[in-house]
Amino acid sequence: MFTSTITWLAQTEVFIFLVGLGAIIVYRLLTGEINTNYLLYGRKKGGGRYFSPERLQLLLFTLGTAMFYLNDVLQHRTSGILPDVSPQTLALLGGSHALYLGGKAYMMLFKKSSKGE
């Protein structure tokens, strides 16, 4: 009886912590209390800002992968095993990150701002 109470309490504590922290973060992201300014903008060498398609695609891939994985977990939650991520998904995500980092490196280290930026 003690063991089941302890297990229940441990689950409750983790649940409250995760949901509480997640809710606070999501609320503050939506209300702007957590800074999201220029999330989709990059910096060029010289200081100019530009709208960054590589950041946009990374945002979409990140949210997409996260939602698909969570959906997978919900469908197999009683199995007791964490679902694996397919190699194709990992390759796509890796490519997305490489594009983001390559674009950032090129613009920040090589691409000079032109006048007026």
Binding site: I6, I24, L40, R43, L59, I81, L82
Partner: protein, 218 residues
């Protein structure tokens, strides 16, 4: 903390085989109480603003960071998934293994964040949140009397006016132009021996912002 909490309940069960049940139960209660107290304190401080989350995904420059954001998303997703899997199994149990795909996913996410920081710190623009800065670079570290000139370059970050004034110390040991070109003294009038010249670039907009570089003239 998530892992500690979830394993506390299981540990109590496993310990019963070796120690009296009241000892294992007491240990589990103490562990749960302590971790629960820490969790509530963290949530309370976050909620009241004593733990400031406003810069959670921000760069030092104040702009939001995509690499931090994706790391946050994946961390939460994997933590929530682990909780769901553990809590939904009957009886609750920790997965026997973490799939390689999850480890690779977290590896991609974390290494992307690290590489992004590396790129950022390789560029003066990435450091602009640290306040105005002047950084001097030279195309060589030493020259000779009557020898080649040394071109200095000053990178100004965080100021609207990026122009600087150049100065050398000792003041009459060669000359420096307004573009940062240092000419060493002539070979005909060398002093006693090698001399180290300090070159200073000072931002015109803010004279408190400057940087120094030395060059050896022999």
């Amino acid at each position: 903390m998530l892992l500690l909490l979830m394993q506390a309940g299981q540990t109590a069960t496993q310990m019963q085989a070796y120690v009296p049940s009241w000892v294992s139960s007491l240990a589990a209660w103490v562990a749960l109480g302590f971790l629960g107290f820490v969790g509530i304190a963290i949530l309370y401080y976050v909620f009241t603003g004593r733990i400031d989350l406003s810069g959670l995904i921000s760069e030092p420059s104040g702009e939001a960071s995509m690499s931090r954001f994706q790391l946050l998303v994946f961390t939460f997703v994997i933590a929530a998934s682990l909780f769901l899997i553990i809590a939904s199994a009957g009886p609750p149990s920790f997965p026997k293994e973490i799939p390689n795909g999850i480890l690779v996913l977290l590896g991609i996410s974390s290494s992307s964040y690290l590489v992004s920081k590396g790129i950022q710190h390789s560029s003066p623009e990435g450091l602009s949140g640290r306040g105005p800065q002047v950084t001097i670079k030279a195309d060589r570290s030493e020259t000779k009397f009557g020898g080649p000139s040394v071109q200095f370059q000053a990178d100004v970050v965080g100021l609207t006016d990026e122009s600087v004034t150049w100065a050398i110390d000792p003041i009459d040991f060669g000359s420096i132009s307004s573009t940062g070109l240092y000419r060493p003294p002539d070979a005909q009038s060398p002093p006693a021996g090698p001399t180290t010249v300090t070159v200073t670039a000072t931002a015109k907009e803010d004279v408190s912002v400057s940087d120094k570089e030395t060059i050896k003239v022999s």
